[in-house]
Subunit: 497 residues, 2 copies
Amino acid sequence: MFESAEIGHAIDKETYEAEVPALREALLEAQFELKQQARFPVIVLINGIEGAGKGETVKLLNEWMDPRLIEVRTFDQQSDEELARPPAWRYWRALPAKGRMGIFFGNWYSQMLQGRVHGEFKDAVLDQAISGAERLELMLCDEGALIFKFWFHLSKKQMKARLKALKDDPLHSWRISPLDWQQSETYDRFVRFGERVLRRTSRDYAPWHVIEGVDPHYRSLAVGKILLEGLQAALKSTGPAERQTNIAPLGHSIDGLSLLGSLDLSKRLEKKDYEEQLITEQARLAGLLRDKQMRRHALVAVFEGNDAAGKGGAIRRVAAALDPRQYRIVPIAAPTEDERAQPYLWRFWRHIPVRGKFTVFDRSWYGRVLVERVEGFCSQADWMRAYGEINDFEEQLRNAGVVVVKFWLSIDKDTQLERFQEREQIPFKRFKITEEDWRNRDKWEVYAEAVGDMVDRTSTEIAPWTLIEANDKRWARVKVLRTLNEALEAAFAKHKK
Amino acid sequence: MFESAEIGHAIDKETYEAEVPALREALLEAQFELKQQARFPVIVLINGIEGAGKGETVKLLNEWMDPRLIEVRTFDQQSDEELARPPAWRYWRALPAKGRMGIFFGNWYSQMLQGRVHGEFKDAVLDQAISGAERLELMLCDEGALIFKFWFHLSKKQMKARLKALKDDPLHSWRISPLDWQQSETYDRFVRFGERVLRRTSRDYAPWHVIEGVDPHYRSLAVGKILLEGLQAALKSTGPAERQTNIAPLGHSIDGLSLLGSLDLSKRLEKKDYEEQLITEQARLAGLLRDKQMRRHALVAVFEGNDAAGKGGAIRRVAAALDPRQYRIVPIAAPTEDERAQPYLWRFWRHIPVRGKFTVFDRSWYGRVLVERVEGFCSQADWMRAYGEINDFEEQLRNAGVVVVKFWLSIDKDTQLERFQEREQIPFKRFKITEEDWRNRDKWEVYAEAVGDMVDRTSTEIAPWTLIEANDKRWARVKVLRTLNEALEAAFAKHKK
């Protein structure tokens, strides 16, 4: 969930200064239009890691936009007035009116996270708070509100460096954080529970935007652009005042950097190393699947990737290690008639393995946010809600002991071209290449954006994505096997504790 | 929540036999149309009290409709197959396809309730299960499903009698309930937690229908008609396959009986008794509000009722007892400009008292499901979701120690006419009667239905409605005061324990 916000996003000063004037003007214009229409309020939630630029961004937004139409609310210590009333009262009294924008700095999410990080309560109570937040936000959206949720992120290393730098800064020191961020464990817990909160509350009507906070130019432009695009879309919508559809772009890269792009596709294995490691990992997998700990687990592996990235070959190397009674490979193509008559997740639920078994999905439920999104086979509303539905689905698997491992096999465009041409030339491979593959290739960038959003929104602690550098098939196959083994070992170790 | 299902609903045999043929024919027709369109599946959830006719109703539906298009699923003990997979798998495998109907007899609600009643877990875990059910149902609705949720209810007395009668019935004895219903405490706990579950999961997209289960004719016709109307509405809707709006009627009375109608409006107090009791109750209220226990509570009283039912007079009798610094009366009329620029609950949140204080709402947030519904000031979708939003709101108040007491002052049509005429004749009362009052009077039945739905859907353990027989003003005023006192004493007693 936070991977894309740890890759060093940055915008150079020149670009920044060139872009800001137009952005400011457009934001002011949108703000004015918002006021004129007075059809809906805008609520901006600011959360995230200490030192990631939350305060600075709020300050900047106030400079950029017309501060008379923005209310910035900081919810730190509760006042006597607030303490004497139900907890939500402080948020209700601060709600912006239609036509106005409210920036909530420190909000319901801060409170639930602080409580959980401090150990004041456990996950079940955190989940109650999460459910309360969902109800509140759904109601606000149903009443017309447009909600932006920003999570400012830093890697632990980045945070430590920032805190050191900020220590002596008088502009910062006024803000007393209720958490002791100097402690490494605070960061770990905050990120762990933060992930749970984001996973659950990133819903189509109010999605989270995770912003890497290191570079001020980047984070400012990123936030400004998301606000602008979301505002413009909502101002244009002609539907009833009720239920704006927040269609702010999801993880649209503004600096050309992306998680996929940050992969080192030159990684490779020599034949000798490959053969050695392959056999080792295969034997390890076979052993793990026979381990008596498997009795309380099942294994699900999801293979997605560029066309010709080598999914089939990798799956065969996995299968080669195993007793055929232990695993099943489920290839996902167009849904059957029976499957089309059901909710889209039904065709995958059918194939969930019993404890002790292993199912390989050759393409998967992620088709919803990949091919169906890109090709327009479902509406935007459908694929927007799918991220949350898929996270719910995988959480259910995980809670039942199913280990979920998800692979994206990534190759570059040149490698794909080579492999396509090779397939066309070699008779027994010709069936593997179709017109459709060439058409998909034309949409390379659109698919790349969909993949980026998918990983950002569904790579979770309970079911993380593993990106596989697949230009070299050997490297890819060994990494797939090793990742499976590590995931199983980690699951087994948890139970041993 | 269950009050309307304890008033002895019944349909005589003659009426029943006269109505059934047409109902069956219409149901079969709707079923056929459902199959032809094959646009969405229908999911019917059957829950409720043991002995309230769940099994019999399912059997009957199967007889009435084409059983080839219905799948009845009983989820009792989990099979080995099911135990080896995530808990939701058993429901997914049983989902009806588009064009078909699935009756889930024993479902996710049964499981969470049994667990909670048995004390296997506490409220926080029950709430996690509730939230899971909400997510599942929202997703199913977003994917097009039409969901009916029936809760078959019996009062405790009725249940005991039914269980006794059923004991020797071989048609019933096959069904082994996992709960020991012979125990009075089982009933109490089941109803208490059932209320929590219904309150939380009765959402606009999948509302609950509570059916009184004593009389087989009544419960069969009630279920059949709700199914029919809901089906017909969904089949007619021309929107996209996604997100059917379930507009099955809410609590539409089919036997002429209603909770309001069951009030004994002839109740009255003699002048002497009135004066004595009034003073006693006023003194008691004054004392309770000065009690040091009030430091952790606040009191909110909601007054709704027929026009000319005597809300103002009753409120004055409450206020008369108190120090003006302790209470506030908030009269609710048309919203101000500021209030129209906010979600509808905002204008009430503003006036929530601090601990130790008392706020009287002369009309309230229930305007959403009364005047706004009847006069069409908001859309059906808006008032349908309001029941859940209001329950959430009141739960937040209650959790913060606010005691919420809600009054419906009920008079009959003749009494209203008398009072209207009196108001027109007495100069200082003339300002109290307007054209609008006469117009509302013409909509007596429509308002009565809205009031019935309101009470059914928002009379909860945390904030119950008290229906006040108000033909006699003396009776009404004393009952209002006594109810307030009893509510405060109950809240204080809870803390003392």
